[in-house]
């Protein structure tokens, strides 16, 4: 218990440090003292903030802070979804990506872009992403549970098939798309945190925080499920119902996250393994710790994505893939991570 709290504090400090860095560093150089004084003034004046329209303030408050919040919640959502799915499936390779949820989102967004509907509604792309993610999840769920009972291998296999199906659909859309549309789809598939609509970001943050909180309530059930379904039943858990709720929860978290950021792979896969391998696999710890580390990781990756070749930006999904992959290989080689459940 004590060890858990120690680690959680470390992870929180890490998140704070990375967040601070990502507020201070960007393609446009704002001197540290200026950023801090802007922040201080904003906190003092709040609504009647006098410097509202100064470029540095716009950059800080309307671009960097929304983006920071988005990075945190999306990172947390993806890694929490990873924890839930890996736990309930007892499979180390499961994450929103492999279950077809992200793929469904990407296919729906591709459809909207190629149909020329982007921009018709302010948030049509996120809406399509969310609908696609949830649609794919529902599809997977219904195909897999056609026998009345949700068996895990069937669910997993269905997920992989839906994932293949949607990636073929994306290929089809991309080969039909014209230049700009093609890029629009690509940007989305590779993940991007360039979102500035604060009320939208706050909405999805609330949903994600509530989702993570609810999943925390199921931490003990997840611990039991990891032992096996029979054992879980013996421990007094309503396995079928719990699996349904957890699956819906993971789909919702993923759907909301992808809707805002596009497809960002690897976070959901890697972060839970890291925590499990390095510290502890108990879900009461694993869930909050993964959420924190996922948030730090994505914020850090986005910091790199937007500064490394500035004023250009790289898609953040590319960075999470490369950096995450390298770190992960390194840690596996050092044998610090055992795939224990």
């Amino acid at each position: 218990m004590k060890r858990w709290i120690g680690w959680l504090i470390v992870l929180m400090i890490l998140l704070l440090a990375i967040s601070f860095l990502s507020l201070m560093i960007g393609p446009v150089r704002i001197p540290l003292t200026k950023s801090i004084s802007l922040l201080a003034q904003k906190l003092c004046f709040w609504k009647s903030y006098p410097l509202e329209n100064a470029p540095a303030a716009v950059i800080l408050f309307k671009i960097r802070i929304p983006r920071l919040i988005l990075g945190m919640v999306v990172g947390a959502a993806l890694s929490s979804a990873g924890v839930i799915l890996q736990g309930m499936f007892r499979n180390p390779l499961v994450e929103p990506y492999t279950l077809g949820i992200s793929g469904g989102a990407a296919a729906a967004v591709g459809l909207v872009i190629v149909a020329g509907l982007s921009g018709t509604l302010t948030q049509i792309i996120p809406l399509a992403g969310f609908a696609g993610a949830i649609g794919a999840a529902i599809l997977v769920y219904f195909i897999a549970s056609s026998g009345g009972r949700l068996t895990i291998p069937t669910l997993l296999l269905t997920g992989v098939i839906v994932s293949f199906l949607s990636s073929s659909l994306i290929m089809l859309l991309m080969s039909l798309a014209k230049g700009e549309e093609l890029h629009g789809i690509m940007f989305w598939i590779m993940g991007n945190l360039q979102e500035t609509n604060l009320s939208f970001i706050i909405t999805i943050s609330l949903i994600i925080l509530i989702g993570i909180f609810i999943s925390f309530l199921f931490a003990r059930d997840l611990n039991a499920l990891v032992l096996g379904e029979e054992e879980a039943t013996h421990l007094g858990i309503e396995v079928e119902r719990t699996k349904k709720i957890l699956f819906i929860l993971a789909s919702l978290l993923t759907g909301v996250a992808v809707s805002a950021s596009g497809v960002i792979g690897f976070v959901g896969l890697m972060i839970p393994h890291l925590i499990r391998g390095v510290v502890d696999a108990d879900h009461r710890f694993l869930l909050p710790a993964s959420a924190l580390l996922g948030a730090s990781f994505l914020v850090g990756a986005d910091l790199i994505a937007r500064t490394i070749i500035s004023p250009r930006e790289l898609p953040v999904g590319v960075i999470t893939g490369i950096i995450g992959g390298i770190i992960f290989i390194y840690i596996i080689r050092k044998r610090k991570v055992e795939f224990r459940w």
């Binding site: 446009v28 309307k62 921009g119 549309e181 360039q194």
Partner: protein
């Protein structure tokens, strides 16, 4: 005596040679001197045996050049995206720009194929191996577009029309440049060109859009980045564009709305002064005669005080 005759003959032959060279250089209508050999933009030497009668154009820019030279009748096949001028509707389609259909091309029995940047090189090689006369055009700037038009005129035996068209284009370009080229840095508005949003995707140096913005008397705020960069919003705010131009195409009619809704750009001069315009993406990106229309339209958008109000938005 003998010596004198030799002198005369040599004088006459030199005279004939000189005049032949003169005629050759001035390009006056010795149009039908086929076969002719030219070097295309892939540095390939291509020989055209006779004046082409059945032409396939694999790219919209080439199609526009051919029609502008009055060769519409001879065009037997075009790509799916060739949509200008309106007569292209009736023409046979050979497939996508980036994926033309080899069999369809062969079926149409072309005696000249105009390829362009963006057509797959494998296909060009295949067609070359099948000994089709295929010319690859890849203009890098507006001057190069003009020389491409001259080339097309030459290989189709339409030098005269080409000369007329290029002269008109040069005059119209000059009309813009004479106003804009002397503009000082601080009289040149900062321009942001939006290819896609979101994320923000713009046109940097080395693109026709960049050249058009400069020639129209503006400064491209992405001019220090090469190619087609995805750009950071912070940088846009810092560079504070005075004019925002959004590429418009019928397929993406709502792109302008997506940009207008971007509240973080509220404080840019372009938003404050409502200098948000659209321009047809076809004319700014196609390396054909309409690039001059693009230049004139850009000039109207960027310098309405010099060129009159733009009608685009």
């Amino acid at each position: 005596m003998k010596r004198k005759r030799l002198k005369w003959t040599s004088l006459i032959s030199i005279g004939i040679l000189l005049s032949a060279m003169f005629i050759g250089m001035s390009g006056v209508s010795l149009a039908n001197e086929f076969p002719l050999t030219i070097t295309d933009d892939l540095n390939r030497e291509v020989t055209i045996l006779k004046q082409p009668e059945r032409i396939i154009s694999m790219a919209p820019a080439n199609t526009e050049i051919l029609f502008a030279l009055g060769l519409g009748e001879k065009v037997v096949g075009i790509s799916n995206v060739c949509n200008y001028p309106s007569q292209t509707k009736e023409k046979e389609k050979i497939g996508d720009y980036d994926n033309p259909n080899l069999e369809k091309i062969i079926e149409l029995e072309p005696d000249l194929i105009l390829a362009s940047h963006g057509n797959p090189t494998e296909l060009i090689n295949q067609l070359e191996e099948l000994s089709y006369a295929i010319i690859y055009l890849n203009p890098k700037d507006i001057d190069h577009i003009i020389s491409s038009i001259t080339t097309v005129g030459k290989i189709t035996g339409n030098d005269k029309e080409a000369a007329k068209l290029t002269k008109e284009m040069e005059e119209r370009i000059e009309a813009v440049l004479s106003e804009t080229s002397s503009l000082l840095e601080n009289n040149r508005p900062r321009v942001l060109y939006v290819v896609w949003y979101k994320p923000l995707w713009t046109a940097g140096s080395g693109t026709f859009i960049d050249e058009l913005i400069q020639k129209a008397g503006g400064i491209n705020i992405a001019g220090d980045i090469a190619g087609w960069p995805q750009m950071n919003l912070e940088t846009v705010i810092e560079k504070n564009p005075q004019v925002i131009i959004i590429g418009y195409s019928e397929d993406q009619p709502k792109l302008i709305q997506a940009v207008r809704n971007e509240s973080t750009l509220d404080q840019t001069d372009a938003f404050k002064n409502n200098q948000i315009h659209t321009i047809d993406t076809d004319i700014v990106s196609r390396t054909g005669p309409r690039i001059v229309n693009a230049l004139e339209e850009m000039a109207k958008i960027i310098h309405p005080e010099m060129f009159g109000e733009s009608v685009s938005d």
